[in-house]
Symmetry: C3
Subunit: 308 residues, 3 copies
């Protein structure tokens, strides 16, 4: 499908303006600057001379870019520029609106769904996915080969990648007098609120007595382990290969980098940044950045490295 500037106008943020020639520009694809053809919509994160060099080099004629660089007349005559304070965000919004495949919601015939499961309108369930006695909201996309076990509650517009397992038994043992390991009971469930997105091959265990809770807007990447009774606050991001230990509490708008490990029971505040590979054994207050093994505040880490 071929679009033009009129398809873009209603999608512009307040801080966005259009400059340059825009009447005859048509686009039907999105590409990188390098791979673009003359019907590509592209974006550029650079400013100044670097931006101008990219504009010169790319075949694209419609470019989303930042607002810190004056676009010379010669380019304005050839191309059209969507100038934004947040070009990546503006580009994402345009593309998500115009190019997202409309998926007809389908519950695949090979999905195995418990007779007591309740599934909302417009929710898609992929091939070979197994759904237990759960409540799933509307407009969700659950991919293939997942297992959503009994006692899981999922909100609206939740997206779950393939081979992800939600509601498995948590891991917590006591040794009896013979050294044998006795499993602590896991009779809780998992609660996933609206607009959560979860990647592939991720495991979210059910709570032992209470629930494991993922608040609205949280994004969880691939291959993440969320142990029993974890609480994740709104709009936080948990990147790939991370372990959230049992009963860990994570605040809102917090960013947990890849390959992080949070000890059982720690509390991480709001607006915290935990760096790649951090091994977190202590609580982290609101707004701080921690890194390292064992993790410590960034300033302390930098000072130690200087002395080391």
């Amino acid at each position: 499908m071929m679009f033009d500037i009129n398809n873009i106008r209603p999608l512009l943020e307040e801080d966005t303006s259009i400059v340059g020639d825009n009447d005859k520009i048509h686009f039907d694809n999105v590409k990188t600057l390098k791979e673009a053809d003359e019907h590509s919509l592209v974006w550029c994160k650079l400013e100044g001379e670097s931006l101008l060099a990219q504009i010169e080099a790319t075949k694209a004629k419609i470019i989303v870019c930042g607002n810190k660089t004056e676009i010379p007349d010669k380019y304005q005559k050839q191309k059209c520029f969507i100038i934004s304070e947040s070009p990546k965000l503006q580009f994402s919004k345009i593309v998500n609106e115009l190019f997202n495949k409309i998926i007809n919601p389908v519950i695949h015939k090979t999905a195995v769904i418990d007779a007591e499961a309740v599934i909302g309108e417009g929710t898609s369930i992929g091939a070979n996915t197994v759904i237990g006695k759960c409540k799933i909201g509307s407009g969700c996309i659950i991919n293939c080969n997942c297992h959503i076990d009994d006692n899981t509650e999922i909100g609206d517009r939740v997206v779950i990648g393939s081979s992800t397992v939600i509601g498995g038994t948590g891991f917590g043992y006591s040794r009896d007098i013979d050294g044998k390991l006795v499993l602590f009971p896991h009779v809780g469930g998992v609660v996933i609120k609206d607009d959560v997105e979860i990647g592939s091959n991720t495991s979210i265990d059910r709570g032992s007595l209470g629930n494991t809770i993922i608040s609205s807007g949280v994004k969880i990447d691939n291959l993440v382990h969320v142990a029993h009774n974890v609480f994740i606050g709104k709009n936080s991001l948990i990147i790939a290969n991370t372990v959230l230990g049992g009963s860990a509490i994570i605040g809102e708008n917090t960013w947990i980098a890849p390959s992080v490990c949070l000890k059982n029971g720690v509390t991480i505040g709001d607006n915290v940044t935990v760096g790649m590979g951090a091994i977190v054994t202590k609580n982290i207050p609101d707004g701080e950045t921690w890194v390292g093994n064992p993790a410590m505040p960034l300033e302390q880490f930098m000072k130690q490295r200087k002395n080391g």
Copy 2:
């Protein structure tokens, strides 16, 4: 189903006693202290004033707790206390006995099972699980979307989480003179003994020439990588996101924390503790605790940090 103190009596450990009012107490659920209602069975790990505050606050009337705190008369008149040296273990045993769902063993109709597979009595196999030419014992629970490949031998009462893969080809290559990678042969299998529990999204590779061996009572969490020819001794625990490198040997009753990485071929003794995120490149003797990247004995690590 409603239970009373008489259902608990036969499940008590030798070191456990019952105090307080217990004739009229009934329970039909298990919850956290905070979420409990008047028919909840709960436990508390605290002692002293903290325990008493919890007793005061919770609605629960039947509480499993430790033996280091005298329970005042006023509470003994309202509630019933199961006093134990190991309250968590005592609570687990009661709940596991009374509240575990009796699962009727079922081999789900969508499971794909090789004609030569031998499966014991009372073993459940979940939806979409694929079983090769294997021998599986009795009373096992194998969840959904698993792949148990040819040449795997599984004992009795083994539990395996969803999307777990057992018996995949190990990873070991030599470069030939052209730099091309030639796979070392993997003709071995996997042997899993009785009472092993394995989480979801875990991969256990088959041996190259010999077998990969998981001894009885071992517990392996989610997202663990067990490479070819690993040996894990009895009753050891391997927590989430850990890598056990090829031919690594792990003793008995050893605890490997989350996000640990053991180098190919290392030997870890009995009763060892390996801390979160430890990168283990050397053998660890019996009974020691190692942490850090690279891992070292805890005392050495603490000393270095003090000096650092």
Copy 3:
């Protein structure tokens, strides 16, 4: 099936010779030195006295070993020795040729394959695997419970382990002015070239605008996360539990150890070695070895540890 030395002769490398008694030697299995019987083919990586002790102890009569040790007459009279500069490689080539199961290529009846998918001759697809609108070459083996999503292109002789997910949505978000996370578009695909091998429970995300590209001969282990737009050069190895951050570039013949984490956008050269558990936040030039959290050149790391 019983083999003899004549089955081996055509498989020998140029640097390999046969010594000892070899006319009456027959073998029908491959085992470890310790578990061998008199019809086992074995190999030994040791030299000198250690090799001789193994030769003495093993029941095997046909032994692949290195060329640095003179084999005494008494052993040459009893056994046959395949003497090679690279005994592991030589052993692998013999075993892979003689003992590899001939698998009749089968597309399992439970596989779910999109009507628009194109699949080459002699490619096997395992039970419950889901294939989208993809192009898959010939002679591939795709195991069970995988999901190969739309817009993936796979070359010839590619092997993929069970529960692996290829082509899932990448992970990249911008916050809008309300703090809500907006997904960056992921309209790219995944390109996997010839002779790539990928383990189980691995996730390879599709590109956002361009493609995620895995060059020919690359080997990827279990539980690896390959983010959007990663490029991996020819014949590189990525070991278990590793994270390759978005748009990371990895050269040829490079070795990434287990539990490594590469930051978004870093460039790793050719012939690089990245050590276990390294947290890589900077580019690594060709031929270097880096380790640690954060990763640094090996020499610098050793020096710091000495001073520490």
